[in-house]
Symmetry: C2
Subunit: 488 residues, 2 copies
């Protein structure tokens, strides 16, 4: 196989989204599939792990500036602990990986590899929280969890092990817990909108789809170009149900024992899946400068007689960008021609390319090319670091605008069962419809086209139901506005 063939993306994003996605992930060097006997696991290669590190750094700084502390809890959870959390164990039981032996010994009690850690975090929080002075208590863990789902592997979207963070907090009042829930939801929104160039919708999950025992489950939802929604992250107001089950109580100012109000919230590497899926194209990966491992690639274009001056100019520019803290790569490989290099760096998702030939040197300029739209311009050599930051912002704005347009065009309204089915069937995207609140009405849609209610809006104005509206499915009085969509 020649290098050229190896680099090219052969599948089409528009017509064959799943295969295209898998090909981008593999050819852009993001991930490999796990070993034989471990289908569903992936190896996260440095280029993808670097993306995760940027998501982690961005979010962790927000967490820390708002009172969150990181901690680390054991990887294993005794079966009896998982069982204390009955509702959850019902959910996870078929997906738990069980450690039954250590060395040559069988364990007395088998241990779950954590599918989520609240059943081991909650008992410790119960020990640590004693008085109202200990509240709020906020603990977060960055780790991997394992859920043995039998479905097809899709790197970052669906894997048996995935990286995530889970935060758990306890508060004195219901309102404090609600404020916490919304603080985290806003921070997740910011990850998508300010770091990944993906607009999201904020909403709440319908009653029947909440985290078991939760008062409210909130979500940010991102619309993929293929018309499916991705649940980007969730933030749960758990009320006092968790605190009561695990005895997370505190002594108030009057020396009375009170149950705390708790929250939990999590974001996984699915955010990387949404990033790759949203912006990339048939040339490969597309990344905003905020997360790109290389923000600029400098490609010198020379003939034998111009090599020296072109290289010298390209090197001085590279050094200037580096000194300014910009992640830049000078591709001065002798054995590759410029066309090959353009393709390779496009595949890898570098947002800005500098092309530098003898003309650029003579005119004291740089030719700047944007990924993904190929927009090209000459800019002065002077103040190049400042200029390139403006180019980054332009590229970011383009990526965001494209995604925003896709979202705006794909929120439609429907007022009947046929309309919901027809609209999603034809266009994908979100369909807003008045809904009675009954799970059965969602089930009817789900059975027919595998679309579900991904959220009800949190914005009061939008959520409001006007007198006399009827559920689009059953015709009973409507209680809420539901967003129906197919989802990842």
């Amino acid at each position: 196989m020649s290098d050229e063939q190896e680099l090219g993306i052969t599948e089409s994003k528009q017509y064959n989204t799943g295969e295209w996605y898998a090909e981008v992930v593999q050819k852009a060097g993001l991930a490999n599939y796990g070993p034989e006997g471990m289908s569903g696991f992936i190896v996260t290669r440095p280029r993808a792990y670097a993306l995760w590190e940027r998501v982690q750094g961005f979010l962790d700084a927000k967490f820390k500036s708002t009172g969150v502390q990181n901690a680390y809890f054991p990887l294993f959870i005794p079966e009896s602990y998982l069982e204390r959390e009955k509702d959850v164990v019902e959910g996870f039981d078929p997906e738990v990986a069980w450690v039954t032996h250590a060395g040559h010994q069988e364990l007395e009690e088998r241990l779950a590899v954590r599918p989520t850690s609240e059943s081991i975090i909650a008992p410790y929080m119960a020990q640590w929280v004693r008085s109202h002075r200990d509240l709020p208590m906020r603990v977060n863990q960055w780790a991997s969890v394992v859920r043995w789902e039998a479905t097809e592997t899709k790197p970052f979207f669906r894997t048996k092990e995935f990286l995530w963070q889970e935060g758990h907090t306890a508060h004195a009042t219901h309102d404090d817990a609600w404020e916490e829930t919304m603080t985290r939801l806003e921070q997740y929104e910011s990850v998508y909108e300010d770091l990944l160039a993906i607009p999201v919708l904020r909403g709440a999950k319908p009653e029947h789809d909440k985290f078991p025992g939760a008062h409210t489950t909130t979500t940010v939802e991102a619309l993929m170009p293929d018309g499916k929604s991705v649940q980007g992250a969730t933030s749960h107001h758990l009320g006092t149900s968790f605190a009561e089950a695990f005895d997370i109580t505190y002594t108030d100012v009057d020396e009375e024992s009170q149950a705390t109000h708790t929250t939990s919230w999590g974001l996984s590497w699915r955010a990387l899946g949404a990033l790759i899926m949203t912006h990339s194209d048939d040339q490969g990966l597309v990344l905003p400068h905020t997360v790109a491992p290389e923000q600029v690639v400098v490609v010198p274009i020379w003939q034998a007689d111009t090599q020296e001056k072109v290289l010298e100019y390209a090197e001085s520019i590279t050094e200037e960008l580096e000194a300014d803290g910009i992640r830049v790569e000078l591709d001065d490989r002798d054995e590759r021609n410029p066309g090959f290099k353009f393709n390779e760096w496009e595949l890898k998702g570098v947002p800005v390319r500098f092309e530098i030939g003898p003309n650029e040197v003579d005119d004291d300029v740089v030719t700047v090319v944007h990924r993904p739209d190929g927009e090209s311009k000459e800019v002065p050599r002077e103040d190049i670091a400042e200029t390139v930051r403006a180019e980054f912002d332009e590229v970011y704005a383009k990526l965001y605008a494209t995604a925003e347009e896709n979202l705006a065009e794909n929120v439609r309204e429907a007022d009947s069962r046929a309309d919901i089915l027809g609209t999603i069937g034809q266009h994908g995207g979100y369909v807003k419809a008045p809904w009675c609140g009954d799970e059965d009405c969602e089930a009817e849609i789900k059975d027919q086209i595998a679309a579900e209610i991904v959220m009800v809006p949190l914005n009061d104005e939008e959520a409001e139901i006007h007198g006399g509206e009827e559920c689009a499915v059953c015709g009973d009085d409507a209680e809420e506005t539901a967003y129906f969509a197919k989802s990842y």
Copy 2:
């Protein structure tokens, strides 16, 4: 139990080191023991995890500036993969936690929870390395690993699950791999000496104690105040043995296939154990400012009539330090007296305390107290942030000097078996002795006082054996200078 009793350390570092250590870990809020049924596991509380984050941040920046990329490999390793690495599986077999079931299904092949990841990393590196242009390849992973040791738990020193990093690299030549091995060893040395205020010795493990198949295993060793050595981190030159076992080969410039020369290197949270053990005292934890979650605590001391002016002054100082990027805590709790606060922050290891009463306000000064020696001085209010940084350096220098003195006083020489046994028995510490290189001579010492050869120095001058020297144990010709010590 009163708060005062809860805060006090009751064990003695000097006379009861093990119990004292466990008490400091617990009362300074660093870790709790794992749940019932999971002895050997610990819960790493935020104050300890923050220390780990600083170690990680310091080392990760060094790695990245020297060409290392992070990646993430699956938590599980198929048994057949572990078996390919025969020497290692012999070593880990009795310590492996096995996943045998997923959900309600028994797995066809059981999966090891990683005790270390080289057996899964190596096959992927073999795929990724093709040409000399791909070299050097450097991959690092930050993760937890599980080794089911039956010995007694000692938080951060001996736990069934621990946090660490493991780096794996491949190089074109033996010399490149040696340079890599030493680069990492120097970076580990820097973690101890420049971040944790602990001097270390650099050495190599004796032939029989090398990583299986390694060409050379290098180590940094730290001497604890109780006279035992801690293996602080290891860096292995693996030669071509690993590359040959896993087929990590490359095509050289002449299109010939060649085996790579590989290295691996790791540092675990044992570094936190060494940190706690080295500097702390009978009042609790002692930390250098480099890693302390709070670098300064400001304790205002007021009467009713001075409260307002004292608090205002304390707040303005706190704000000024914060604005300068110093981690500072103002302890303005009304319900606690200054003495209680002093004890609590001493227990928690804050390196610098500010005491601020009406006199300080009137004189426009601050009383500064160092942890651990209680040295106290008045400094001007002006330029307080600059002043406090100088105080940090002074405290750091004191901690380092104490540890260095302990090390210097506890490297002794011996030239006979009785001398080795007697010296270690009486003083602990290191005993340097000429050694023939035979494992049996170490075994004789080990059997009698559980001391072993922790290293042979890497420094050529020190390692050199002068003509005619004899092995202190058997009297045959000496080949090396061995450092005997008891170790953690």
